[in-house]
C-alpha cells in the first residue's frame, strides 16, 4: 500500500487535516451549543472550557495548516502547465483517461475535456475552492480568540455565544466548500 510523495501530501492536506478539522468543529460546536447558565458545576465549567479551548484552537490551527499545504505544496502540482505544445494548450492530454505527471497536470486535464465535460471542475470548482478556503482559518482564528478571551463568561452571554457559533459555522462552511470540491476534483483528476 504505497503512496507517492504527491499523493501523500494530497492525503495530508485533504484527508488527515480535513478530518481533524471536522472533529474539532463538531466538538466545539457541541460544547458551545450546550452552554447554559446553571447547567454545570464549577468543576464541570472548568472541564468543559478546557475542551472548548482545545477544540477551538485545534480548529484554527488545522485550518491554517490545510490552506497552507494546499496552496503552497499541492496546488503547484495541480496547476503545472505541462500539456502545452505549440498552439495547442491540451496537446499533452490527448487520449489520456487520467492526468499524467509528465505531460498533463490535473488542471490541464480538466480544461482539455478529453474525458467528457470536465472544464467546469476547474473554472468553477477549483477557482471557488482555492479562494474561499482561506476564509476558514481567518474566521476560525477570530472565533478561537473570542472563546479564549471570554472563557466561561460566554455562559452568561447568549448573544456573544451565538456570534461565536456563527463564526464557527461560517468557517466550517468555507472549508466544506473547499473540501467537497477538493474531493470531487481528486476523483476526476487526481494528483500523482
Amino acid at each position: 500500500m504505497e503512496l507517492a510523495t504527491r499523493e501523500t501530501w494530497a492525503v495530508i492536506h485533504g484527508l488527515i487535516l480535513g478530518t481533524i478539522y471536522l472533529l474539532a468543529f463538531s466538538g466545539g460546536l457541541a460544547e458551545l451549543w450546550s452552554l447554559h447558565p446553571g447547567w454545570e458545576s464549577l468543576q464541570g465549567v472548568r472541564r468543559r472550557f478546557r475542551r472548548l479551548y482545545v477544540g477551538a484552537t485545534t480548529m484554527a490551527v488545522t485550518a491554517w495548516l490545510t490552506v497552507i499545504t494546499g496552496t503552497w505544496i499541492v496546488y503547484p502540482w495541480y496547476r503545472e502547465p505541462l500539456a502545452v505544445q505549440g498552439e495547442d494548450p491540451s496537446a499533452g492530454c490527448q487520449e489520456l483517461t487520467l492526468p499524467d505527471p509528465e505531460t498533463c497536470s490535473p488542471r490541464d486535464f480538466l480544461l482539455s475535456n478529453v474525458r467528457g465535460e470536465t472544464e467546469a471542475w476547474h473554472t468553477f470548482g477549483m477557482e471557488w475552492k482555492e479562494h474561499v478556503a482561506w476564509a476558514a482559518p481567518i474566521l476560525a482564528t477570530a472565533a478561537a480568540f473570542i472563546v479564549l478571551y471570554y472563557g466561561p463568561r460566554l455562559i452568561s452571554r447568549p448573544w456573544l455565544r451565538a456570534v461565536v457559533i456563527v463564526m464557527f459555522v461560517a468557517a466550517f462552511a468555507a472549508a466544506a466548500v473547499a473540501g467537497a470540491f477538493g474531493a470531487f476534483i481528486t476523483k476526476v483528476a487526481p494528483i500523482s
Partner: protein, 129 residues
C-alpha cells in the same frame, strides 16, 4: 460606542467561584471586525485580479517561483491586511467597550461581500478580455 457593564454572576451564579474579572469588549470587537475585513480583502483581490492583468501579475510575483500563481498574492496580501487590521483595531479598542452588535453587523457585511468576491460567477464577470 459603549455597552452596559456585564453582570455575569447574576446570570450564571456558577461563575462567582471562578473569580472572573471584568474585561472590555474592545479586543473581541477587534477580532470580529478584522476577520470581516480579511475575508473582504480576499474577495476584493480575487475580483480585482480578474479585472486587471497588471494587478494579476503583481499578485503572481508573491509566489517566489513556487508555481502558485496569483493565488499567492491574493491570499498573502489578504492575510497581511487581516493581521494589520487586527493589530490596529486591538490597539485602538483594547481598553474600550464598542457596541459588539454594531461591530458584528459591520463585520458580517464585510464578510458577505468578501465571500461574494470569491465566487467564480461573480469575479469572472469582471474578467478582462
Amino acid at each position: 460606542m459603549e455597552t452596559a457593564p456585564h453582570h455575569d454572576e447574576a446570570v450564571a451564579p456558577e461563575l462567582a467561584e471562578l473569580g472572573l474579572t471584568e474585561k472590555p469588549d474592545g479586543p473581541a470587537a477587534a477580532a470580529m471586525l478584522a476577520a470581516g475585513i480579511g475575508v473582504f480583502l480576499l474577495g476584493l483581490l480575487t475580483t480585482l485580479a480578474a479585472a486587471s492583468p497588471s494587478l494579476n501579475d503583481w499578485l503572481r510575483s508573491w509566489e517566489w517561483g513556487r508555481g502558485v500563481g496569483p493565488l499567492a498574492g491574493k491570499t498573502t496580501v489578504a492575510v497581511i491586511g487581516w493581521l494589520l487590521a487586527w493589530v490596529v483595531l486591538h490597539l485602538v479598542w483594547r481598553r474600550s467597550n464598542p457596541n459588539l452588535r454594531t461591530v458584528f453587523t459591520i463585520a458580517v457585511i464585510f464578510g458577505l461581500l468578501g465571500a461574494i468576491g470569491t465566487f467564480p460567477t461573480f469575479f469572472e464577470a469582471f474578467a478582462s478580455e
